[in-house]
């Protein structure tokens, strides 16, 4: 029983990290309708900056710089590359991000070399134990951070014109421009924000229970795909819920692996995709995504 609770909690907390990553996808998708494969390298960038600075300037400062750094990288990607492609087909843009990702990842992994860097977070490996159920402080922090950030974005999207501008720009650049939307700014902002979010996510990806930042860290970004999709690619709430669903599914699928042997072992990262597929069958635009119109 309390194994279940433990797995559940762990799933939720891991899920909140995924939610953070997914949020990054969502922000960019909202503003540009591009599926951003370069998010993985943004993660790495943010983490790397934080990791390499925390010794000198302390963790929190380092984290801030890391966030800023990743934001700059994101913005740079938009400014130097994506901007040139405005108006092209979305799958084309997706491919471009792949190219960018290859470049960035190669560079960052080269710098990382064979190291495993710690981000010098204050939580260490301390855990909170209630009864026989224990959960790492880092994970509680992750949960809080995700909840906070996502509410912030919900509010931002609802109560500032930013969200409207984003969606307008995404749906029809020309018409948006006619409304006085500064296309450049909107997408630049989106990429910067995504970068910042990636940095935060990187933090929680690399703290305990994972040993630290190293070249394989970025692979975790993949886990956010099903999260972002099953939540609905253009919905912030979706990102949160999606993240949690993925986290929990994964955790349970792993924890009860021995009960699920008939499906073959190591279902861990397959399960989220199965759940995603089922959800998409029922709701083609994800749980919270805006449905596609059927009117002529």
């Amino acid at each position: 029983m309390n194994t279940f609770v433990e797995l559940l909690l762990n799933g939720l907390s891991m899920g909140s990290v995924y939610a953070l990553i997914a949020l990054g996808f969502v922000v960019i998708f909202r503003a540009t309708e591009v599926v951003n494969f370069a998010h993985a390298s943004l993660l790495l960038a943010g983490g790397y900056v934080t990791a390499s600075l925390h010794d000198d300037i302390g963790f929190w400062a380092a984290l801030l710089v890391g966030i800023a750094g990743a934001a700059v990288v994101g913005a740079a990607i938009e400014f130097l590359v994506m901007r040139r492609y405005r108006g092209s087909d979305h799958s084309v843009l997706a491919i471009v991000t792949i190219g960018v990702d290859i470049l960035l990842t190669t560079e960052l992994t080269r710098r990382l070399g064979t190291d495993v860097l710690s981000l010098g977070d204050p939580w260490g490996d301390s855990v909170l134990t209630i009864g026989s159920v224990s959960i790492a402080h880092t994970r509680i922090a992750a949960f809080v951070a995700a909840a906070l950030l996502i509410t912030v974005f919900l509010l931002a999207f609802r109560y500032t014109s930013w969200g409207v501008a984003m969606r307008a720009a995404a749906e029809s650049p020309e018409t948006a421009a006619l409304m006085g939307v500064r296309l450049g700014r909107v997408s630049l902002g989106a990429w910067a924000v995504a970068g910042g979010l990636a940095a935060v996510a990187a933090l929680f990806l690399t703290v305990f229970p994972t040993p630290g930042l190293e070249r394989a860290t970025s692979l975790a970004a993949l886990k956010a795909f099903p999260a972002a999709i099953l939540g609905g690619l253009d919905s912030t709430t979706g990102a949160l819920v999606g993240g949690l669903v993925v986290g929990v599914t994964e955790s349970l699928a792993t924890g009860y692996q021995s009960e699920l042997t008939f499906l073959g072992r190591g279902l861990g990262d397959l399960a989220p995709y199965l759940v995603m597929t089922v959800i998409l069958l029922i709701r083609p635009a994800g749980l919270f995504g805006t449905k596609e119109l059927a009117r002529v």
């Binding site: 797995l7 190669t106 992994t109 190291d115 490996d125 855990v127 229970p209 070249r215 924890g255 692996q257």
Partner: protein, 392 residues
Amino acid sequence: EDDKGDKEGKGGVKTGVGVSADTITLGVLTDMTGVYATLGKSVTQAQQLYVKQTNADGGICGRKLKLTVRDHGYDPQKAVAGYTELEPDVLGFAQFIGSPFVAAVKQRVDSNKGLVLPQAWSANLLGSPYVRVVGSTYDLETINAIDYLMKEKGLKKGDNLGHVYFEGDYGENALKGSKYMAKKSGLTVVEQKIKATDNDMTAQVAALKKAGVKGVVISAGPRQAASLVGVAAAGKFDVPIIGNNSAFAPQLLGTQAGPALAKNYYVASPTLPIGADTPVAKKLVADYKAAYPKDALDNGVQAGWTAASVFGEALKKACKSKDLTREGLDKALLTINSYDTGFGVTQDFSDPKAPSSKESVILRPDKSVTGGMKVAREPEAAEAAQSYTTGG
């Protein structure tokens, strides 16, 4: 194939593919940009070091050694392409990372007889006289590891043993070992299969806890090991944890997981650690530090070195018998039956069906020593290992 027609080289030495009057070219198919980058980097650097030194003291058979390196980034297409490219121009391969790829070219190896020393210790690679695994295979290693847990760490008949292993050749071969050992000594294995992308072992620990295991074997990467040990420690779940050779990297000792690892983690290794106080080891450490000051001294270094020196030894023997052709090299290798690479374990290559040794050393992490490993149990092969027929 065309220059296969063996010629009388200088010094009356018969030569063939990859051997010219003054150089012996060896291929290296490594991964320095993909998932095994960490391993690949160390191994390759160590082997380049070996080559540099051998050439410094005159090379082998009056010829200089030359490594042609191809970095396939663990991309099957590049790997196979790399093999196809190098095979016609090299005598053999001192390194080949990625056992699926080795398997992919195995047929061709058998037909062109070019010796391959894979940097993988899977029993599935055995059986070909031209693909030779240096040191004990994962399954044997695992058997020895469990043997250690039982002899020293109070794991006993009837207990549950957790085994966290990678999907793929490495993990599954190790699992063979633990299954065999379990059968032998009345344990029950609780399997936890993971993937290289899983970095957080919380769920696995929870599951193992639930199953009430009394010890854990981990056949995965360093990260997974670190996470596993860390989570277990944090969750007051202190059963002994032992990993295969590839499940540790000294870099980990610098991270959060460091203390926990030092406290309750063991590693089974085919040879003494790089930090061992054998002359060879000391020299290697010194030279490597000198050559690559920035890089960590992990087990990849001595794995690479060992492989290279085995290749070198074989070449020397082949040179004695005046035959540096691929066949000659192979014959030479088969005559090597007690070669000490300088890391405490003697290698025996006389039987193509078996790995060159069945022994494992048990190590435990220790920040203070070079390479972060010190010996917990001297080289030894469990009797279960003796009776175990590899690949079976």
